[in-house]
């Protein structure tokens, strides 16, 4: 079973050229953004760091989802819930401590345990994995569509729960911690880039970079933004390498087999429940880490989380990214994430900025005084489409989701294997061509010879 109901003729020779394809695509995207940005006069550093941020985030999110859906056929549409568990737990672990009774239920006033950020990130990932286990134990034996309903319900239960004022703050060992209720949480643990450099014992490097930036540009924030983008790229490479390794192994082979036909795989002696639980937990853990990375450092300053951000929309973004790239392929996931981030997610907002700069219209105030009615009236009267177009530009974030909906429908109807084509990576730790030394049929020799063949 899989989305693609058609099967390609032959395995195309994929392998060493995959990273090259990703790099080629990234170069192309960066070139487009640089050219468009320079025409509109947008600061190239903020232009590219912001682009890199979203490419990195969507790529790692799509990679994590690919492990669930692309490899194992686990229909998880509660991705944002697992991301949320990750970032909320990281917040509680790593925010600065606030003494009990000091904060109260005021938003952002609760503290955390004050542990280092890397520990918080790890705790977030582990918590998301354990949450995944909680969901997996009863739900993994359900049909794909039921699992979809359960996962989305779980993510909504998470959102409705953290929104709840009753657990907005509570005391743990004399410290006031909590989920912040409807106001959300400030991720005010300091500069993530500095903290991560410190964790790698590179604090001195960070300081000198900051000082240089301050001298050259007059602001140390650029270091944080560039550093954050580079950290995301590093995570992207790490996720990609890890998932390729998982995919190209006997473990990954069993996952693919479960996706294709669980009962047949079971009949071959594989404990499919065990594989599914492990892989669901790993994927959820990776999603939890994605959550921490996603919400920290928003716009260069400290990040924050708010329950409304955990509506299912982000889950569907990630799904679109994966479907564009082609589920089942890690290279495709990264490329789909990059394409989605650049053209579907960032693209319309970028276009909005460019139009804003070029037309010199104050879109913000236009949006405040204009509704759909005012935008339509000139068309009805004098066929003047400009107000409607401007209205469309101000409403670009809703149009964006409308377009994503159309993209999903188009892809499912015409290219279920993904925009980038059928790119299935072979699930084995080695190349599967016929071994050089033909077996002469003597099994004893063949077995003994296995080791010396290395």
């Amino acid at each position: 079973m899989s989305v693609g109901d058609s099967v390609p003729d032959r395995v195309s020779a994929v392998g060493s050229s995959d990273p090259a394809k990703i790099i080629g695509l990234l170069v192309f995207i960066y070139a487009v953004y640089l050219v468009a940005g320079s025409i509109a006069g947008i600061n190239p550093v903020s232009n590219l760091t912001s682009l890199t941020r979203w490419i990195g985030l969507f790529a790692i999110a799509a990679l994590a989802l690919n492990l669930h859906w692309g490899y194992t056929g686990l229909f998880n549409i509660g991705v944002i819930g697992f991301m949320g568990v990750g970032v909320y737990v990281a917040a509680i672990v790593s925010k600065d401590p606030v003494a009990a009774g000091g904060g109260g239920a005021v938003g952002g006033a609760t503290g955390g345990l004050g542990l280092p950020l890397p520990i918080g990130m790890l705790a977030g990932a582990v918590a998301a994995a354990l949450f995944g286990l909680l969901v997996a134990l009863p739900a993994l034996r359900l049909r794909a569509d039921y699992l979809a309903i359960v996962t989305i319900a779980v993510s909504e239960i998470f959102r409705l729960s953290v929104r709840n004022g009753n657990i907005a703050s509570f005391d743990v060992g004399g410290l006031s911690v909590g989920f912040g209720g409807g106001d959300g949480l400030q991720l005010d643990w300091g500069s993530e880039v500095e903290l991560l450099f410190d964790a790698l014992l590179l604090g001195g490097v960070y300081d000198s970079l900051s000082a240089t930036a301050e001298r050259l540009i007059g602001s140390p924030v650029a270091v944080d933004r560039i550093g954050y983008a580079l950290i995301l790229l590093a995570f992207m490479i790490g996720y990609y390498a890890l998932l390729r390794r998982i995919g190209n192994s006997p473990f990954g082979r069993v996952l693919k087999a479960i996706r294709e036909d669980e009962e047949a795989t079971n009949s071959l002696g594989k404990d499919t429940d065990r594989f599914k639980i492990i892989v669901f937990m790993i994927g959820c853990g990776l999603m939890g880490l994605v959550g921490v990375l996603w919400f920290m450092n928003a716009g260069g300053g400290g990040g924050s989380v708010n329950p409304t951000q955990f509506r299912p929309d982000t889950t569907f973004y990630i799904w679109v990214a994966l479907i564009i790239g082609g589920a089942g392929s890690n290279t495709g996931s990264v490329m789909g994430g990059a394409l989605f981030a650049a053209f579907l997610y960032r693209g319309p907002r970028f276009l909005q900025t460019v139009i804003d700069k070029l037309t010199e219209t104050d879109l913000g105030s236009f949006a405040r005084r204009t509704g759909f009615g005012e935008a339509m009236a000139p068309i009805a009267g004098s066929f003047d489409p400009i107000p409607l177009l401007l209205y469309a530009v101000t409403k670009i974030q809703s149009l964006q989701l409308l377009i994503m909906g159309l993209v999903i429908i188009y892809l499912m109807q015409n290219r279920p294997q993904g925009l980038l084509g059928h790119r299935k990576e072979q699930a084995a730790a080695i190349s599967l061509s016929r071994p050089d030394r033909r077996s002469d049929g003597d099994r004893a020799v063949a077995a003994d010879g296995g080791a010396e063949d290395e």
Binding site: M1, A139, Y146, N164, N166, G373, A392, M404, V407
Partner: protein, 409 residues
């Protein structure tokens, strides 16, 4: 798909029995707690070291309880009405339609728009039709209540009709453009496509009507039903410190308004209508056959395309009407509400057993009641989360639903 229906894994046997026992225990506990709360009894146990601790009971005045029951039933009727369509498409077309919630939105918006235009254009103080279509007028200014005179009555009836008919139009268009080209694909492909459809509809509504919820709140006449209970008894102490009985006053009143009755009448008559239709017509039989085995149905000469279209028509109209009655009942609606409502509808359909329309009705009532009665036990902010959790429990314990095996009527 990996796990076929007939196939089971060992975990089932291990998980199910102790889990079922636990569920029964929780259920009995809640019922006992409710009875104690209704009679205003606290069960206080003297825990060594902690002093007197309340373990059960509390206060739940009868009037508050009854209005929760009424709310739950009315909410359940809407869920059930919307659930019939979801259940039918789920069993006959074979996929979970995530666009169904936004069909509810379509019904609500089209119906209310119609009511506004009828009441606003014909009414005493006339309004600009664009303003009316975009629902930028307070409903109270239009006097839109079912008991608000012949014009308001006509506006609401027309609104209901257009909610149904208009939704059918949208649903058929969606089927033609989105689902028909991939009818024979896997259920998962269709499910993902339906997510795309949902996004398109939802954000189109957002684009046109904006993100403000409109308010149509003018329910018209309200009736109070008084409840008379026994004379308030004084706190009755039993035992020196272990048991403590406190009986509270059993008087109060519950309020029911004209729109609640409208909803009740519409929902019940539509459900009866569906029952009669599916029991007496050939279509009902054809739908059952198709839900059972699509290929076999086609071979035996059942016009499957027509049955599918009929399924959309019936399901779409009920869903659109459900959206409009939601507005009548709650007085407000926004572009995101249909989607949020969808999970409750899924809960009802799964609880009732996919494909069973009686299951959808019963499941709707159970989910509606569970959602509203849960407030007695947990903070109201958790009520919706509780309904979702209930659905997950049903999926895990009895994935085939309570009315399994009675496919489509």
């Amino acid at each position: 798909m990996g796990v076929a229906d007939g196939y089971r894994t060992r975990a089932e046997g291990l998980v199910e029995n102790p889990f079922n026992g636990l569920l029964v225990f929780i259920g009995l506990y809640l019922v006992a707690d409710l009875i104690l709360k209704l009679s205003g009894v606290d069960v206080v146990v003297n825990v060594p070291g902690m002093g007197a601790t309340k373990i059960m009971g509390g206060v739940e005045p009868l009037d508050s309880f009854l209005s929760k029951v009424i709310n739950g039933i009315l909410r359940g009727l809407i869920i059930g009405l919307a659930g019939i369509g979801l259940s039918m498409t789920y069993s006959i077309l074979g996929f979970a339609n995530f666009a169904h919630g936004d069909f509810i939105t379509v019904g609500a918006f089209m119906g209310v728009m119609t009511s506004y235009i009828v009441a606003g254009v014909v009414g005493a103080a006339t309004y600009d039709i664009g303003t009316l279509a975009l629902m930028k007028v307070e409903a109270s200014q239009l006097g839109l209540a079912i008991t608000g005179g012949p014009l308001a009555f006509a506006a609401i009836v027309l609104g209901l009709l257009i909610a149904g008919v208009g939704t059918v139009g949208v649903v058929l268009l969606v089927d033609r453009l989105a689902f028909e080209p991939i009818r024979d694909r896997s259920s998962v492909s269709l499910l993902i496509t339906s997510i795309g459809v949902a996004l398109v509809i939802r954000y189109l509504v957002n684009f046109i009507w904006g993100i403000e919820k409109f308010s149509a709140n003018s329910p018209g006449d309200t009736w109070e039903l008084a409840i008379r209970g026994s004379e308030p008894a004084n706190g009755l102490q039993r035992g020196p410190s272990t048991w403590e009985f406190v009986i509270t006053e059993l008087t109060g009143s519950i309020r029911v308004n004209a729109h609640d009755f409208t909803l009740l009448i519409i929902a019940v008559s539509l459900m009866l209508g569906v029952h009669v239709l599916l029991q007496t017509s050939k279509l009902g039989k054809a739908m059952r056959a198709m839900a059972d085995n699509k290929d076999l149905a086609r071979v035996t000469g059942i016009p499957t395309d027509r049955v599918i279209r009929f399924t959309w028509v019936l399901g779409g109209s009920l869903t659109g009407v459900a959206g409009y009655t939601w507005v009548l009942w709650s007085g407000t609606f926004g572009w995101y509400d249909g989607w949020l409502f969808l999970l409750l509808v899924f809960a009802a359909v799964i609880l009732g057993g996919i494909g069973s329309i009686y299951g959808a009705m019963a499941g709707g009532l159970i989910i509606g009641l569970a959602r509203d009665l849960s407030i007695i036990f947990i903070p109201s902010a958790f009520a919706k989360a509780f309904a979702f959790a209930l659905m997950i429990v049903v999926l895990v314990v009895k994935p085939s639903g309570l009315f399994a095996g009675r496919t489509t009527a």
